[in-house]
Amino acid sequence: MELTRRQSIVRWTLIAFGLFYALVPVLWVLAIAVRPRNAFTFPLPLIPTEFTFSNLREILTGSDGIGWLPYVNAAIYGLGAAVVTGVIALLGGYALGRYDTRYGRALLLVFLALSLLPDAARIVPLFLLYIHTGMYDTRIGVILAYAAGSLPLGIWLMAAIIRQIPIRLEQAARIDGAGPFTVARRIVLPLARPGVIVVGTLAFVSGWNAFSLPLILAQSPNIQPYTVVLQKYIVAEQSTVNWTLLSAGSLIGLVPVLLVFGFLQRRLLAQGGLGAAVRAR
């Protein structure tokens, strides 16, 4: 669509504002994280003049830091949730995508509704369940809580993706004498793989990012993820905040997520991800 000069000024002003709003907060955290601790003179220069990696090193290995363990825990939870969600969503999504029955559609609607329940709405119910079943303060409990949160959207996406795989391919394989397991392994799995990666990635990211669930469900310090542990820098005694370490710790939490989305962006946005889900309706 051709734009007039005025329209294109409006367009680029909007885009510039969007970029500023989206990126400045993250850049500011970066600017604080790389500043040496003795370089805090107020008001701060907007762009740091000295750079150091010592804050990042301090957070992982120093005596004031939180160490590697909280990040490892978050990775365990993210990966665990990704595997559980990926497998279960593939099975369920296949059933709902292929056998298009009335019950199936109703069930899909129920799953869509479940996917709307945010983490915070689930902390009290899960706490009560876990207290009574002995799953409180266990790693498995945390992983299953994440997986249950990611599964509904996962199934919804998988069903949409499975519907895009031509059923003829499966029928042809059956006619050629392939059993159901061969069809699953040789036809469905390779074609559904991009979808499984999308669903798994979304589950990993929400597991890696989660805060309110582990805040409640993981009490022992050695199983808490970094999101929870970083709090110690902000609710410290005289409400002083350890700015450098908090920013360095946040930054380390951000990097994996940005990398994952950077690598998978096109796939997430285009064929597999939300595009498909929106179009499938």
Partner: protein, 288 residues
């Protein structure tokens, strides 16, 4: 065969969503305490009536906080997400991909990291806003001390975290709007705003409804962000219902009352979702 494949999914959802909510509904009508969670007796509707007679802070004040915060979030993220999606529509594919990736950065940031990030914006000492103001010769502002200013500041932070999803949903459905309709509107002399309102929005209404619902529900249940930035303070001035639920249950140990708040939030979410399904059906009928 399909039911066998669905068993794990249904099992997990029932065990980790339906059952826990069932337990919570039961607890909402008991006097259970955190210290003795397994021994309690029925309390009828007492938890709910106690809520409405809370004194410091008043329950209605928390409702107002929640609704105002949610409304600001919804309006802000729908507005910004839609405008940006439209602004990026029709750019060269490569330019668009790069801009899209940059604009989506906040959306992938963990909500708790969003909270930490925005404390770095609003902080009186190292905050970006006050640093900027002081560099320009002004004097700093206490962003998080006065109730409405603080709620506004929190909403700006939450819009930051949530407009990306609106942007995605609207972008995806915009790519289904035929280029010819847009060109026709332009030939008829429609400006950008008229084009958005009269041509684009009616064409992407269903996606827009979905985005509204998602933004409303997540605003209603906001937790991480406010927990980290203000913790509901100063003196409960920015505390929404989700933090009240947390405080009653885990800080004051009144599990029954906390469960009652959970039930209220759940019912509000349910009502919104049903309203949404009805609106959706109506749209579908209109266009088919």
């Amino acid at each position: 065969m399909p039911w066998l494949l669905l068993t794990p999914a249904i099992g997990l959802s029932v065990f980790l969503v339906v059952v826990p909510y069932g337990i919570t509904f039961l607890y909402a009508f008991t006097d259970a305490q955190l210290s003795s969670i397994s021994s309690f007796s029925g309390a009828g509707l007492e938890n709910f009536s106690t809520l409405f007679h809370l004194d410091e802070p008043r329950f209605m004040m928390e409702v107002v906080t929640t609704v105002a915060f949610t409304a600001a979030t919804v309006v802000g993220s729908l507005g910004l997400g839609t405008l940006l999606a439209v602004a990026l529509h029709g750019l060269r594919a490569r330019t668009r991909a790069v801009l899209q990736a940059l604009i989506l950065v906040p959306w992938v940031v963990a909500s708790v990291i969003t909270g930490y990030t925005w404390t770095f914006i609003y902080s009186p000492q190292v905050g970006f806003l006050n640093t900027l103001i002081e560099r320009l010769g002004g004097s700093g502002v206490s962003w998080l001390l006065e109730r409405w200013l603080a709620i506004g500041a929190l909403a700006v932070a939450n819009v930051w975290a949530s407009f990306g999803l609106v942007f995605l949903i609207v972008s995806a459905s915009l790519s289904n709007v035929s280029e010819n309709i847009l060109r026709a509107a332009q030939i008829d002399g429609a400006g950008p705003l008229t084009t958005i309102r009269r041509v684009i929005l009616p064409n992407i209404r269903q996606a827009f409804l979905l985005a509204t619902l998602v933004a409303t529900v997540s605003g209603l249940n906001v937790f991480d962000l406010i927990f980290v930035i203000t913790h509901g303070g100063p003196i409960y001035q920015t505390e929404p219902l989700s933090l009240l639920m947390y405080r009653l249950t885990f800080v004051q140990g009144e599990v029954g009352a906390g469960a009652a708040v959970t039930v209220i939030l759940f019912l509000a979410t349910l009502v919104l979702s049903v309203a949404y399904v009805i609106a959706w059906r109506r749209e579908e009928r209109k266009w088919s």
